[in-house]
């Protein structure tokens, strides 16, 4: 069974994000880049499916600039068999739909039985690409997956998605697209052998023209980014307890409108 995992490279969760000079993007100087954590669940699940079935191929795919190779390399170190890097100036200002279109073109070429993604990338939190990709392919799709089981014949997948207070269980015919939620599994970290072995695995560079795609004007444009205003300082209410409580209740009701 062939599985494609779409991953995105994002700033490390510990990054203190700063708005860049153009006011529309973040300042990337000094950022450590990682594979988006939800995508790691997707990679792990794909590897587990392959291991459980005793055969198959897991292909990691990502769209982005040169630096994205490193994220793909770390997927290879985890155990993916090969990687595809969509790297072209034509994609320098893509929105989610154009990203999904590029991914869909690769999926059509590769013809996997299953595509796994993270439920959203932790940088812009759009969470849209997976659904758009499924829509473009005309494949069924389920988000926030906490459990999955591909049947023995590789014809359907039973997926359980997280909903308020429980799990919602679906059977989806394959091929399908699933988006991983935290808790689906515990992603493995690369072993030293995995890291060394990843050097020898293929990362194929793919241009827009290779997929028969041209530059597509983004339908979504970022007009501006604003840093959150600094949190206003807390207020300490002085005085003896009965009057302080009275003042606290008044402030919660009238100033904060919290009660």
């Amino acid at each position: 069974m062939k599985i494609l995992v779409a991953i995105k490279q994002v700033p490390d969760t510990a990054t203190q994000v700063k708005v860049g000079g153009d006011g529309k993007s973040i300042d990337t100087a000094g950022i450590t880049w990682i594979v988006s954590p939800y995508d790691e669940y997707a990679v792990e699940e794909a590897l587990r499916i392959k291991e459980k079935r005793g055969q198959g191929e897991v292909v990691a795919i990502s769209l982005g600039p040169d630096r994205v190779r490193e994220a793909l390399r770390s997927c290879l170190a985890m155990g993916c068999d090969r990687a595809i890097h969509l790297n072209d100036a034509a994609w320098s200002a893509v929105d989610t739909l154009a990203t999904a279109r590029a991914l869909a073109a690769v999926v059509t070429q590769e013809a996997p039985q299953l595509v796994l993604c993270g439920r959203q990338a932790i940088d812009d939190d759009m969470g849209a690409v997976t659904a758009q990709l499924a829509e473009l392919l005309g494949w069924p799709c389920a988000y926030w997956i906490m459990e999955e089981a591909v049947d023995a014949d590789g014809k359907t997948v039973r997926a359980a998605r997280q909903v308020e207070g429980g799990l919602e269980v679906f059977d989806l015919p394959l091929p399908a697209v699933l988006a991983a939620q935290k808790g689906l599994n515990e992603p493995r970290y690369p072993t030293l052998k995995g890291i060394m072995g990843a050097k020898k695995k293929e990362i194929k560079d793919v241009k827009a023209a290779d997929l028969g795609l041209g530059a597509e004007p983004a339908q979504l444009a970022v007009l501006g980014l604003e840093a959150l205003p600094p949190r206003p300082p807390g207020r300490i209410i002085e005085g003896d307890v009965p009057s302080a409580v009275k003042e606290l209740v008044r402030a919660l009701r009238e100033d904060a409108k919290a009660i």
């Binding site: 990682i34 490193e70 690369p190 072993t191 030293l192 052998k193 890291i195 060394m196 050097k199």
Partner: protein, 388 residues
């Protein structure tokens, strides 16, 4: 030609990320709890071994990764910079070097692949003795050949991880000092299996930090003659040429500690507000941290130089010793800056600062005292009279 690279390769960044990923599973509480009980971080070391990181320096022919000392250093440094204590396993990286360079093919085939998988641990190294200390050639433990065995008698002091190791490298005298030309002659190295070994008594010592260190007593301890590494009587030279690797790796431990201290010190000094402003706004606080940071950067350059020379197969005794010295001093300065800026909280166990403070102090003393590094540099680098 040896060259220092100023940035990590993609593979080295992956290596570091892999170690960070493991370390995340072993947070401060894990180390604190073991520290209080003086127990060995078995789970952490097992996981690190299974992921292959401790076999980084073992050649690929023997089941390891065949990486360079800079990569080995990066692994240890990352553990300490993540708040852990690489001392629990660093020796696994360097002790095998002696076997690799001087052991017989049979010894290498027998042990190295199993060390690489973690089936066997070789992380005990018995040199120091109560009556000789830094003056290694005066050690009094003897190994006397009797048929197909050697019989060992004597004592060792401060020998770490003996109870967490299957094998031990032992330095003992095989020819009495009055029968050799030079006092460095007549010492031999043995690679011995210490599991259920009769005549070996291990007495754990409670140290300032969690270090699994012991006093050893050998009472007619019999070991097979095949335990001898290389030629009889040439052990001192074998030990010496393993020292450079050890110094570079220990310098890396220190650099990791130092980075951890600086990160904590900066975060705390930015956030702690006293007299109406962050304490880091005071030069008295800020300058100590800045100074320590400068010392770390310099120490790292020296470590990288030593590692580059080592990996290129060039002499690096001076650089390896200086790196160990600079690293240990930088970590200690950073530790002081960190504990100082934390005020009383620096002494509270839950901040981990006091634990790391105790842990980093060791490298000024062991595996060689910084005084003796100065003595080495004076004599061997500068050509001054021997002072010891």
């Amino acid at each position: 030609m040896a060259t220092i690279s100023l940035s990590l390769t993609e593979e080295q960044r992956a290596l570091r990320a892999g170690v960070v990923e493991i370390c995340k599973r072993y947070p401060g509480e894990y180390w604190r709890d073991l520290d209080a009980r003086r127990e060995y971080p078995d789970k952490f070391v097992t996981e690190l071994t299974q992921a292959g990181y401790l076999a980084a320096l073992i050649p690929q022919d023997y089941g390891g990764a065949g990486l360079g000392i800079r990569d080995g250093g990066l692994i240890l440094e990352t553990i300490n910079a993540s708040g852990g204590n690489a001392a629990a396993c660093h020796a696994q990286m360097y002790i095998m070097g002696t076997v690799l360079r001087h052991g017989s093919e049979a010894q290498k085939r027998q042990y190295l692949p199993k060390i690489a998988t973690g089936e066997l641990r070789l992380q005990a190294f018995g040199v120091t003795e109560p009556n000789s200390g830094s003056d290694t050639t005066k050690l009094q433990t003897t190994a006397v050949r009797r048929g197909d065995r050697y019989v060992v008698n004597g004592q060792k002091m401060f020998i770490s991880r003996v109870l967490q190791s299957d094998l031990m490298l032992l330095l003992a005298r095989t020819t009495p000092v009055d029968q050799v030309k030079r006092k460095t002659d007549g010492l031999s190295v043995f690679l011995i299996d210490i599991r259920h070994l009769e005549g070996l008594e291990v007495r754990p010592l409670r140290m300032m930090m969690n270090h699994s260190t012991n006093a050893l007593f050998f009472d007619n301890m019999e070991i097979p003659a095949e335990s001898l590494v290389g030629e009889e009587g040439r052990g001192f030279a074998y030990i010496l040429d393993g020292m450079n690797a050890e110094r570079i790796l220990v310098a890396s431990d220190s650099l990791g500690d130092a980075r951890w201290f600086i990160e904590k010190a900066v975060a705390y000094s930015n956030q702690r507000v006293i007299f109406g402003r962050p304490i880091g706004a005071n030069q008295g606080v800020q300058f100590a941290i800045a100074k320590a940071h400068i010392a770390i950067e310099a120490a790292q350059l020296m470590r990288d130089k030593a590692a580059a020379l080592f990996d290129a197969g060039q002499p690096c005794g001076g650089e390896a010793n200086m790196a160990k010295y600079l690293g240990a001093e930088a970590a200690w300065d950073a530790g002081n800056a960190c504990i100082d800026c934390h005020g009383g909280y620096g002494y509270a166990e839950e901040y981990d600062v006091e634990r790391k403070f105790r842990e980093c102090r060791l490298y000024k003393t062991a595996p060689i005292n910084n005084n003796l590094v100065l003595a080495y540099v004076g004599e061997h680098v500068l050509g001054l009279p021997r002072s010891y």
